[in-house]
């Protein structure tokens, strides 16, 4: 461990996290999840639908309250880290006003975080500087996603969550989006992204965390996870890991 990591709290520190939703029946979306992400890491968060990825991200953003366990973001409570602009997120859909222009949206976001934020730089780093005057409603899905990315960059967060950021994008849109994210992560930002595209995890993440039924079932580099599962592709490892739990009560984990 380097001295910097010892003195700085981790980017994300999740311990024994449990989240239950009480409806007609109790649903345990997150079931004792432990995860530490060091600063500067780019982590892919994989899991089938309903594995608890989005719920975990919501808890780390202070949008929901844990049933049990703790989440610390950069040593702070999630809501405090969000208000200070130290953690930001790109959600899969929504969160935009269609009648605003791209420039207005980012300028408003910057204004909400106070003065001194470089709107132009955020637009450029997200690759949408040429779209500044375009109405959000006229932007393609990929352009809107890069706008969300620009909004997330405005406060210069140390930690960035991307929740299935490229779902529904075409190949070019995905490539453009990831090249913007990669260029940004190279500057040292910590990135945690949830995705269904295993190739994105393999290409862009330093570390892959597989969750199933609200728990971490594998954690390591893509190569380590394939080796541990004894398979040749990440997809095979993913299928094996996420179907092993739950097929039988005594199944291997």
């Amino acid at each position: 461990m380097t001295p910097a990591q010892e003195t700085h709290p981790p980017a994300l520190d999740v311990r024994g996290l449990v989240k239950e939703f009480h409806g007609r029946e109790v649903v345990r979306a997150v079931d004792g999840l432990d995860l530490r992400v060091a600063r500067g890491e780019v982590v892919a968060f994989l899991g089938p639908n309903g594995a608890g990825k989005t719920t975990t991200i919501d808890l780390a953003l202070g949008l929901a309250r844990p049933t049990a366990g703790t989440v610390r973001v950069l040593g702070q409570a999630p809501a405090d880290a969000v208000a200070a602009g130290r953690v930001a997120a790109v959600m899969q859909t929504g969160g935009l006003l269609r009648d605003l222009t791209v420039g207005e949206t980012v300028r408003l976001t910057a204004a909400l975080f106070g003065t001194g934020h470089d709107v132009r730089a955020s637009l450029e780093r997200a690759g949408i500087a040429d779209l500044e005057r375009r109405r959000v409603g006229r932007c393609s899905g990929g352009q809107q996603q890069r706008l969300r990315f620009a909004m997330a960059l405005v406060s210069e967060p140390d930690l960035l969550f991307l929740d299935e950021p490229t779902t529904g994008m075409d190949v070019m849109g995905r490539r453009d989006f990831w090249s913007a994210v990669r260029a940004d992560a190279a500057r040292g930002r910590t990135v945690v992204f949830a995705t269904h595209y295993l190739d994105e995890a393999e290409l862009y993440a330093d570390r892959v965390v597989v969750v199933s039924r609200g728990r971490v079932v594998a954690d390591g580099t893509a190569a380590q996870i394939k080796d541990a599962a004894g398979v040749r592709t990440l997809e095979d490892a993913f299928v094996r890991l996420t179907s092993a739990v739950g097929t039988s009560a005594g199944g291997a984990r």
Partner: protein, 227 residues
């Protein structure tokens, strides 16, 4: 509250042509239908326009909840209460414009009042219309946007008619009108035209303000609570 957001929100109010035109056109149309001769009716209809405008914030809130904008704002330092206040203030700017348009039409049609009385009525309309923003917020945090847009204007128009804003009501209708929020607001809006303020009207406005604000706060808390 954030000034940049407020200015942008006011600009957005005037971009949504359909809703703001309705707010600026409907009161003059009503004025033409009921026929203008008395200053009381002009002021009452101006109040109706202002109430339409301020309750309009509800449709915006419902739409922005559905679009995930309010959730997005929770990833910024802006507090949900400041968001609601921004929506209300922008709607009140439209309300002020609606009041000016209606009163100006009344003056153009020959209603003759001293400038101080015009100004007093305009301010009174604006102030007593404000609590109806809480009705808009209540609807906006309770219902889907389609329901809000479909329900709110008819409800406001019905309240205005039953509260005696379009024609003075007598007998049983007049008695029941006194229970409605539009009646108390109307009495206070017209107060600069008369001498003295009706204590019953003040009580009506105070009580309805409490009820509407409590209702809005209840739904607001329900919506913004972290679960």
């Amino acid at each position: 509250m954030n000034p940049t957001y407020l200015v942008l929100e006011i600009r957005r109010t005037f971009r949504a042509r359909r809703s703001y035109l309705l707010t600026l056109v409907l009161p003059p149309v009503v004025l033409s239908v009921v026929g203008v001769t008395q200053p009381e009716l002009v002021v009452s209809v101006a109040l109706y326009g202002a109430i339409l405008a301020v309750t309009g914030c509800g449709a915006g809130v419902a739409a922005e909840r559905a679009q995930g904008w309010t959730r997005q704002l929770r990833l910024t330092p802006l507090r949900p209460g400041a968001y609601a206040a921004t929506k209300v203030l922008a709607a009140m700017v439209l309300g002020a414009l609606s009041i000016v348009v209606t009163l100006a039409l009344g003056a153009a049609r020959g209603v003759d009042l001293p400038p101080a009385v015009w100004l007093g009525c305009a301010l009174a309309c604006w102030v007593v219309s404000a609590p109806f923003a809480a009705l808009g917020l209540f609807a906006g945090y309770l219902l889907r946007v389609e329901a809000v847009t479909r329900v709110l204007s008819p409800v406001v128009t019905l309240l205005a008619a039953a509260g005696g804003l379009f024609v003075p009501l007598d007998g049983a209708l007049g008695q029941s009108a006194r229970l409605l929020p539009t009646w108390g607001a109307g009495e206070l809006a017209r107060a600069p035209l008369t001498t003295g303020i009706d204590a019953g009207a003040v009580a009506n406005v105070v009580l309805w303000t409490l009820v509407l604000v409590a209702a809005a706060a209840w739904r607001f808390r329900r919506d913004t609570a972290r679960v």
